[in-house]
């Protein structure tokens, strides 16, 4: 039982990582109707920026604010200069451009900062408290930040006219344009915000997994799974999905391990946990094709 709680807690901590990345994915999806495969590498690159600023002596939060701002600009520049000319192009051409961006950010980070792992400071005080054997202070901070981000996003899309305009621009650009929304800038804004969220996600992830160019490669996969299982257009669903995937994979390994101890029979273990978690996600999706919390979209003919 003790271990069960620990595994769930650690799953939640990992889930917070996935949730942060999933939020960035949702952000860009809501704003542009695209799944950005380069999101993870952009976040990794932003994290290096943060790291560099901290190395130059800035306080963690100041550095993070700067690099989030810088990432915001980079996001806008990418949209304005790289993606804009492709607005009329097929979706798959966009996908290939994302893969190109992924390759560029990944290799640039390696070239500039080398491939050796770097320690990344945690902004949260290293205190011990009741239950810190179950979950560390950084993990709790990470969960808190992902929830904060979620609320901020939710409020942004729900209560601000800018948020509404962005959603409109992505879902129905023609009508949005008619009511006076500057669709082009909305897309760019979406990219900027997603990049900024990525910077925050990266700064939360790096203390837990160490900073290196491959840091986000596998996390992005979990982030995708989380975002999709929760509903890709729904920030709350994505966060819930991220946590769900995190807990699920730990429990798969936990129960597999228990079964092996009890019966000597090996069915699943750590090697298969991702696989089984993905299988469950896909099974959920087959039953609920728009994600657990997604609304069914009725198409008009």
């Amino acid at each position: 039982m003790e271990q069960f709680i620990q595994q769930v807690a650690s799953g939640l901590a990992n889930g917070a990582i996935y949730a942060c990345v999933a939020l960035a994915l949702v952000m860009i999806f809501v704003a542009t109707d695209h799944l950005n495969f380069a999101q993870g590498e952009m976040a990794m690159f932003s994290t290096y920026l943060t790291w560099q600023l901290i190395q130059w002596g800035l306080n963690f939060w100041v550095a993070l604010a700067f690099s989030a701002g810088l990432s915001f600009l980079i996001g806008i520049i990418i949209e304005r200069f790289i993606l804009r000319p492709l607005h009329g192009a097929p979706v798959l051409s966009n996908v290939v451009v994302f893969i190109g961006l992924l390759a560029i950010f990944h290799s640039l980070a390696g070239a500039i900062w080398s491939h050796t792992i770097k320690a990344f400071p945690s902004p949260f005080p290293n205190v011990t408290f009741a239950g810190s054997g179950y979950i560390g202070p950084h993990q709790i901070g990470m969960i808190a930040v992902s929830l904060l981000l979620l609320f901020a996003l939710f409020a942004f899309f729900r209560f601000t006219s800018l948020g509404l305009a962005m959603r409109a621009a992505a879902q129905n650009p023609a009508s949005a344009r008619l009511v006076g929304v500057r669709v082009d800038w909305m897309l760019a804004l979406g990219w900027g915000l997603a990049a900024a969220i990525g910077a925050i996600a990266g700064a939360m992830v790096a203390p837990a997994v160490y900073l290196e160019p491959n840091m986000m490669a596998s996390i992005l996969l979990y982030g995708f799974a989380g975002a999709l299982v929760g509903g890709i257009a729904n920030p709350a669903g994505a966060v819930a999905g991220g946590f769900l995937v995190g807990v699920l994979e730990n429990l798969v390994a936990y129960f597999g391990n228990m079964l092996e101890k009890a019966t000597g029979l090996y069915v699943v273990g750590n090697g298969e946990k991702l696989m089984v978690a993905l299988a469950i996600v896909i099974a959920i999706l087959t039953l609920k094709p728009n994600g657990l919390f997604g609304r069914t979209i009725v198409k008009r003919v």
């Binding site: 003790e2 620990q6 491939h115 050796t116 160490y210 290196e212 946990k273 991702l274």
Partner: protein
Amino acid sequence: MTINRRIILTASASALAASLSLSSAFAQKKYDEGASDTEIKIGNTMPYSGNASAYGNIGRTIEAVFKMVNESGGINGRKVNFVTYDDGYAPPKTVEMVRKLVEEDKVLALFNTLGTPGNTAIHKYMNAKKVPQMFVATGASKWGQPKDFAWTMGWQPDYQTEGAIYAKHILETQKDAKIGVLMQNDDYGKDYFNGFKAGLGKDNEKMIVQLSTYEVTDPTVDSQMIQLKNSGANVFFNITTPKFAAQAIKKAAEIGWKPVHYLNNVSSSFGTVFVPAGVEASQGIILALYRKDANDPQWNDAADVKAYRAFAAKYMPQANLKDDTHNYGYSVAHTMIEVLKKAGDNLTRENLMKQAASLQGFEAPLLLPGIKINTSPTDFYPIQAVQLARVKGNSFEMFGKVMANESK
């Protein structure tokens, strides 16, 4: 082309044979593809990109060492042309790049190709082609089979031997050991684990109460560490690469698990493991060493460490020397240089293997005192001695004797 070359080769071979029979007093110059009066062409593949890209620094260092050698006149008057390609740590890419090196670039030999999967993929090919696959950058035990694979040789202590040494040490020092193992789920991890189990012996295998594996694609090993702690293990054998080693050390401290911690040599680096994990949390970790960590203050006055630092300052000014992979590259490159020097003007593939298989007591720079490279036609394991040490402060505290396991 192939036919023509064959004719030329046979012609030159018979010419050589003729000149040989004329007089053996003359210094004979003999060349295979990739060697000439002015150049020795050496091929290599490295993961400059991909999952294992942190190891790319080995290739960069080797390149810099050969640059240094070339600037000071080369080896026996010949410049070393080191051709290194990125294989992204993907075996199909390794196969392709190696075929390019052998068939298009026509290198004399491969040197320090990195990674167990990649070297496994080219193992048969290299031996069928009879092109040396020298001092491969992996500690798998399969590289030392001169009978079946006469053209392949390892360099560092093999994982199985090292695993067995930890097992022996546990048996000697820990009463009622309950062992938890964290293992990377691949060739490298299994090699260590098999050696470790063999070292414990059949009767003691049940001392292993928990084996937890991880995949290189896992973001963290947190879940595995919790499994291990809860298994009640009081001894921890940590078979992980640097990033995961750092994660494991940090997590163990966080969840308050304090076993006797054995860490594989693959992660024996302050710069890339103990400092990121926290030096405090790393205290007391036991590991087997065969090289000096150039960052360790105890070697500040060692001649080879000084030479290494001078070399690095001049030829790799941008390199981060905290990264131990640079040391590795420096040390292994000098082993290759020694072989090329010994080969003299007889730069055939056969002679290269012959020279590599007759190193006796060679002290490559940065090897620990008392650790020497010994090979013979039946011993293709160059380094087989290690020294147990534990992390103490910012340094390794060595204890016990050099443990050798020469020639099985």
